[in-house]
């Protein structure tokens, strides 16, 4: 259990770094992003083109695909939901 939480924390940290790096988030540092902050819309304010980058980021860094829109909506909700999806499904890191 402790190991799972530790892994999730590592994935969240990596994800935040990747998001800041790949989405050109200006004036935002990885540590500014909260684990449960809504990524799209009112939260971090990401848009559909950022979703494209997240799809690519998941493929390149974790070998994961987002199969459909419904799944995407659940996974892309926050850094925490993304991290849990990666933790459960990751093939390579």
């Amino acid at each position: 259990m402790e190991s799972k939480e530790k892994n999730l924390a590592e994935i969240r940290k990596l994800l935040k770094e990747l998001l800041v790096e790949n989405l050109s988030l200006e004036d935002i540092r990885p540590e500014d992003i909260k684990d449960d902050e809504v990524l799209f819309g009112d939260g971090l304010g990401l848009d559909s083109l950022d979703a494209v980058e997240i799809v690519v980021l998941l493929q390149r860094n974790f070998g994961l695909e987002v199969k459909d829109m419904k799944q995407g909506r659940e996974i892309f909700y926050s850094v925490d939901t993304l991290a849990r999806y990666i933790y459960v499904n990751k093939k390579t890191t």
Partner: protein, 303 residues
């Protein structure tokens, strides 16, 4: 005149009704294409005189393409534009009514496109414009043997939808709605990965992010989402232009292929500006040659 097939929800009112389409269908059946074209002169005159919103929608383009025109000449250009668009809609209706290949479609760049598919398993983005007849152009792509996905909103005018088969295209054509979550990009990324073709309009932003690009002598707002998706998916952007040459012939050009890419550092989106500008230059070249086949009935020069 605008069918609104890919139109903005908040855009101009819809034109065209079942009776109108019935009349055109009758003209096509009785007197062929030329009879229907003749009827268009009267219909377009009605729009020119009584639908000033239609005329004012065309003016931003007319003012840039024909900058030295006076008021009367601008109206004349609007009339010719309406007739030209009407002819292309009649062509589409005729193709549906006759249920056979009515038009001689010359496809420039077929070999180049096939070579592209043979070189890579990934799909391509087909960048279309409010120019010519992209619907007719798509029929010419059947021989590629590829599934084509159109990124488009559902047609809101039922008469247009039924009569012109909008959203119900023949062949291996599917629709991706931009109104779903994330603007449909997850589905787009997935189908590109499977090697399919995704068709996206490149010259109107419909509220999406856009760059200021030089176009017809001024800065216009061009969306860059197609280029951003292509750069992320590492697939090419094929610019599709379909121009009507004569009553029964079209030339479809797919020779212009762009391969946008972004460095991982710096402002990624802004790195796409040269490709968007190149697309605008290609479109402008066609507009110079076929000034009455550009159906940009929207002020893209104003944000």
């Amino acid at each position: 005149m605008q069918t609104g097939s890919r139109a903005d929800k908040t855009g101009p009112r819809k034109r065209g009704n079942r009776t109108g389409f019935w009349f055109f269908e009758m003209f096509i059946r009785i007197s062929g294409l030329r009879g229907a074209y003749g009827f268009l002169y009267f219909v377009c005159l009605y729009y020119l005189i009584f639908d000033r919103h239609a005329v004012s929608s065309a003016l931003p383009y007319i003012n840039r393409r024909f900058p030295d025109s006076g008021m009367l000449t601008r109206n004349f250009h609007a009339y010719r534009l309406f007739i030209s668009q009407g002819r292309q809609l009649v062509d589409r209706l005729a193709a549906i009514v006759s249920k056979k290949q009515l038009f001689d479609i010359k496809l420039n760049g077929y070999d180049k496109l096939m070579a592209l598919f043979q070189k890579s398993d990934k799909g391509v983005i087909l960048l279309t414009s409010h120019f010519g007849n992209w619907q007719i152009a798509l029929t010419s792509l059947n021989k590629l043997g590829k599934r084509v996905y159109l990124l488009m909103r559902e047609e809101e005018n039922p008469a247009v939808k039924e009569s012109l088969n909008v959203g119900n295209e023949k062949g291996d054509i599917r629709i991706i709605s931009p109104e779903q979550a994330f603007g449909g990009v997850i589905e787009i990324m997935n189908v590109l990965k499977k090697g399919h073709v995704v068709s996206i309009m490149g010259d109107r932003n419909y509220g999406a992010k856009a760059f200021k690009i030089d176009f017809l002598g001024e800065k216009a707002f061009f969306p860059f989402s197609a280029f951003a998706i292509a750069a992320a998916a590492e697939c090419p952007v094929v610019i599709l232009i379909a121009a009507k040459d004569s009553a029964y012939s079209y030339t479809v050009d797919v020779t212009n292929i762009l391969v946008p890419c972004c460095k991982s550092s710096g402002k990624r989106n802004e790195q796409l500006i040269p490709w968007v500008q190149e697309y605008a230059n290609i479109l402008e070249k066609y507009i110079q040659k076929y000034p009455y086949q550009c159906f940009l009935f929207h002020d893209i020069w104003k944000n």
